[in-house]
């Protein structure tokens, strides 16, 4: 076998056909000249890309997962050898010049990678695992596997071309993905459908603006909030970068998010957020609307197009900042005790989506095409900070999917997640329901006991004794209810009552506050 390859190889060498990359030297080839030749020669092969001024390449991780990684100088040395024979000009014995074979020193590799001529490499904003319906100058084009320079460069790493679906069939297919969930309101269902379509719109650059994070919230664990997001990942054949909130807080999380963004995969999931979630970095990323600087250890800072990424959070009661809640699309589902999700020949819904991934992707494409044919219209929806997204998706869910307005009920959810007292009150209401004490007048002491039994933390500083806890509950109730006697949280009504009670200790009547939790519909 080697005889044939060796013969052709030696023919190439004998005929001067071996590709030559001339590295810089003090014999007349500057770093810039060398970099221009090197990058021009390797650019057409779409193996090394430029991202935020840094050379990157596609590498396969252990589980077969593909990721973009920074090309470090020590790796670039040998990578170059794939593209040609490395030569350098040297002074010969007679004082003239001769071209001699060489290895690329790390210092040279560093200099080449830092040269401005790196701009000759093809740009890439990220990678996606399945075909994309791209908006190229207003015309839909399907990008299959391979590199596509349009819209800032996109690398499609695999996937099967989806079929063209009639729009009615596409709508039916997409509805199937949400039908088995018990959404708190029709608006939540609309936002769940929007969440399915949004990545397709963004990767195809139909929306070239910031889009909100998908925040999945459930009243109880095992309600299917993560499952719903998994269906989205399966539809796009993506494996999300999963990030756990570290004990050290969001500082470590920001670093993990940076690392995930550097990999180029579009989906980043922060699963099972408990309590307060506050990340200025994610907030900044979601509002940047363009490039953000991502810094990871040993790799320096890379400017990355933030619009390529989608954040997914799940929680049984997320509490976050006002800014982050304004950048979220909160989708609330309720647990359906004893409910059996629909079965498919392949197993459950997720297995069904995995098996028919091109079909469901085709359904998303059909919806995007229909929206494009209609002229990419938007409603005047202004109840969200990301108005371009809200207007477009509101139009799509109402006019193509024939669902409820996108943001119905959303302001209430935003208010709740950004108000720690309301988030706490929601947990209390859920716990009261569990204790079957709905409709009962509960004192601050009784609520403190319920909190202790259900391991519900009391936000804010207080000492760990009964009196302090009772006082803190009063403070939280005041914050949650304000001057009103009633607060409404996620379907629960919490009513404050004041009753006169005789105090044996003080030998007088006192005004005591009690709280009654009931279902809003009751």
């Amino acid at each position: 076998m080697n005889a044939a390859i060796d013969a052709v190889t030696s023919t190439a060498e004998a005929t001067g056909a071996s590709e030559i990359l001339i590295l810089p030297s003090n014999c007349g080839v500057t770093i810039t000249v060398s970099a221009e030749q090197v990058f021009s020669q390797i650019a057409p092969f779409h193996e090394i890309f430029r991202r935020g001024g840094v050379a990157m390449r596609l590498v396969e991780l252990e589980q077969g997962k593909l990721t973009l990684d920074v090309v470090k100088p020590e790796a670039f040395r040998s990578l170059l050898e794939k593209f040609g024979k490395l030569m350098v000009w040297r002074v010969d014995e007679a004082g003239g010049r001769k071209l001699v074979p060489t290895l690329c020193p790390e210092q040279t590799a560093t200099a080449l990678l830092a040269c401005e001529k790196i701009e000759l490499l093809p740009p890439v904003r990220g990678i996606v695992a399945s075909p994309v319906l791209a908006n190229v100058n207003g015309t839909p084009q399907v990008f299959g596997k391979g590199y596509h320079p349009e819209n800032g460069g996109l690398l499609v790493t695999g996937g099967t071309m989806p079929p063209d679906l009639p729009i009615d069939e596409a709508v039916t297919a997409l509805r199937l993905l949400v039908d088995d969930f018990d959404f708190k309101t029709p608006g939540d269902r609309s936002r769940a459908l929007a969440s399915i379509i949004t990545p397709g719109l963004c990767s195809g650059r139909w929306i070239a603006d910031s889009v909100p994070a998908d925040v999945a919230e459930a009243d109880q664990s095992q309600s299917g909030k993560t499952y719903r997001q998994k269906i989205i990942f399966a539809l796009y054949a993506e494996e999300p970068r999963r990030i756990a909130i570290k004990d050290g807080g969001v500082g470590g999380t920001d670093e993990s998010v940076s690392q995930a963004m550097l990999s180029g995969s579009p989906f980043i999931q922060i699963d099972n957020v408990r309590g307060k979630f506050d990340s200025q970095f994610i907030e900044m990323t979601m509002t940047a609307g363009g490039m953000v600087g991502v810094r990871v250890p040993y790799k320096g800072e890379v400017q990355i197009d933030a619009r390529h990424f989608h954040f997914f959070l799940t929680s049984n009661g997320v509490e976050t900042t006002r800014d982050l809640s304004n950048r979220s699309s909160i989708i609330r589902i309720r647990k359906r005790p004893g409910f059996a999700f629909r079965a498919f020949p392949e197993g459950d819904l997720l297995a069904h989506v995995h098996a028919l991934q091109p079909y469901f992707l085709g359904a998303v494409f059909a919806v995007i095409r229909a929206w494009g044919v209609a002229g990419c219209p938007r409603t005047n929806e202004t109840r969200h900070d990301f108005r371009l997204w809200a207007g477009a998706l509101d139009w799509i869910v109402q006019n193509i999917l024939r669902e409820a307005p996108l943001l119905d009920g959303h302001a209430e959810a935003q208010e709740r997640v950004s108000n720690p007292a309301l988030t706490w009150l929601r947990f209390v209401a859920l716990a009261v329901g569990d204790e079957q004490r709905m409709g009962q007048e509960l004192s601050a002491s009784a609520i403190a006991e319920i909190c202790a039994e259900h391991e519900i933390d009391l936000p804010g500083k207080h000492q760990d004794d009964d009196e302090s806890r009772r006082k803190q509950i009063g403070v939280l109730m005041k914050r949650a209810l304000g001057n009103d006697a009633v607060a409404r949280v996620d379907g629960y009504k919490i009513e404050r009552r004041e009753v006169e009670k005789y105090s044996e200790a003080e030998s007088r009547y006192r005004t005591v506050k009690t709280y009654v939790v009931s279902l809003e519909t009751a």
Binding site: M1, A3, A4, I5, A7, V8, T9, S10, T11, A12, A14, T15, G16, A17, S18, E19, F45, H46, E47, K82, F83, T139, P140, Q141, V142, F143, G144, K145, G146, Y147, H148, V156, M161, P163, D164, R369
Partner: protein, 328 residues
């Protein structure tokens, strides 16, 4: 740009699927649609609506036809891929010119002259001579017409020699690599006695230039067949550079087939080394027909007289020791 009416008419006249010629018509209609300036999506939708007949035509079949139409007309809309082409191992143009220069004005007589085996027999004895020199008596070979696939066409080299010596006509095609003699699955899952999976010894790769190598073409001119003189020069040059060529066969038409000794260990070795390295990074960039890359590739059988061309398929060069391992 052609009139959309022609496209519409072709759509209406689509033959039925399942033997009516629907598959071929898909590409014809897609070509007309592309020329009429329609989008790939539109053409796909139209085809889907107009397809009729017994056989189910898949979306993929439609998509392939439309993609091919757009690729051929270089309109580029349905971007199925900007395939990551394997990185060529060298500058193809420089190597081609270097090899041609080494072959400097060589013609068939020069190839004949440099053949280690003196080809001093008449062309009707080519088959027997080649079989005896390149194969073991027990090697099982397919020799037959293009679409012959039955077990009857797989015989031992000794058996074929006996038949030809007895005056049996020499069929036009041969698979240079010995076969198992058993049936195996084709890529379509059908059973055949000459599928890639039937190859027993992975000795030779068939090399052929079906047209002038791209690096030598003027991009403004249509691509044409590579003249025989140039092919002779190339193979003479390749021999100068000691390419392990066991045989050069005059196809009796326009081209010369080279049997390059590769001696792959097994099918996996063939896939990685011959297909993945030799063809993908070396031969295809040089202009060798990429369709030649499979192990059960047909070549022309020397000693067959092509009536339609009134020419013999002949051995031009024969070296049983090429690669030193051709005949154990």
């Amino acid at each position: 740009m052609i009139s959309p009416d022609r496209y519409d008419a072709a759509l209406r006249e689509m033959p039925e699927s399942g033997g009516g010629g629907c598959h071929v018509a898909l590409l014809s209609v897609a070509n007309l649609g592309a020329l009429a300036g329609l989008s790939p999506e539109q053409i796909s939708r139209d085809l889907r609506v107009h397809i009729h007949g017994k056989r189910h035509v898949s979306d993929r079949e439609i998509r392939d036809a439309v993609s091919k139409a757009f690729r051929d007309f270089k309109r580029g809309a349905l971007l199925t891929s900007s395939e990551s082409h394997p990185h060529p191992a060298f500058c193809a143009e420089r190597l081609l010119r270097g090899v041609l220069a080494a072959g400097d004005d060589a013609d068939e007589a020069d190839l004949w002259e440099c053949s280690p085996i003196r080809l001093d027999w008449p062309p009707d004895q080519d088959a027997v001579r080649l079989l005896k020199l390149l194969y073991l008596a027990e090697d099982r070979l397919f020799i037959g017409a293009r679409h012959d696939a039955g077990a009857v066409h797989i015989r031992s080299a000794a058996d074929w020699c006996k038949r030809f010596e007895a005056g049996a006509p020499v069929p036009e095609h041969v698979i240079p690599n010995p076969l198992t003699g058993n049936s195996g699955e084709t890529k379509d899952g059908k059973l055949s006695f000459r599928a890639d999976s039937c190859v027993a010894c992975f000795r030779f790769a068939v090399l052929e230039f079906d047209q002038t190598p791209e690096p030598l073409c003027d991009p403004r001119q249509p691509v044409t067949a590579w003249p025989r003189e140039a092919q002779c020069q190339f193979w003479a040059g390749a021999l100068t550079f000691k390419w392990p060529i066991a045989a050069l066969i005059d196809s009796g038409g326009k081209s010369i087939h080279a049997w390059l000794v590769v001696n792959a260990a097994d099918a996996a070795d063939w896939t990685t080394q011959v297909e993945g390295e030799l063809f993908a990074r070396m031969l295809v960039p040089l202009g060798v027909d990429r369709a030649c890359k499979n192990e059960a590739r047909l070549s022309r059988m020397p000693g067959h007289f092509r009536i339609e061309k009134s020419r013999w398929q002949r051995v031009l060069y024969l070296n049983p020791n090429a690669g030193n391992e051709v005949k154990p």
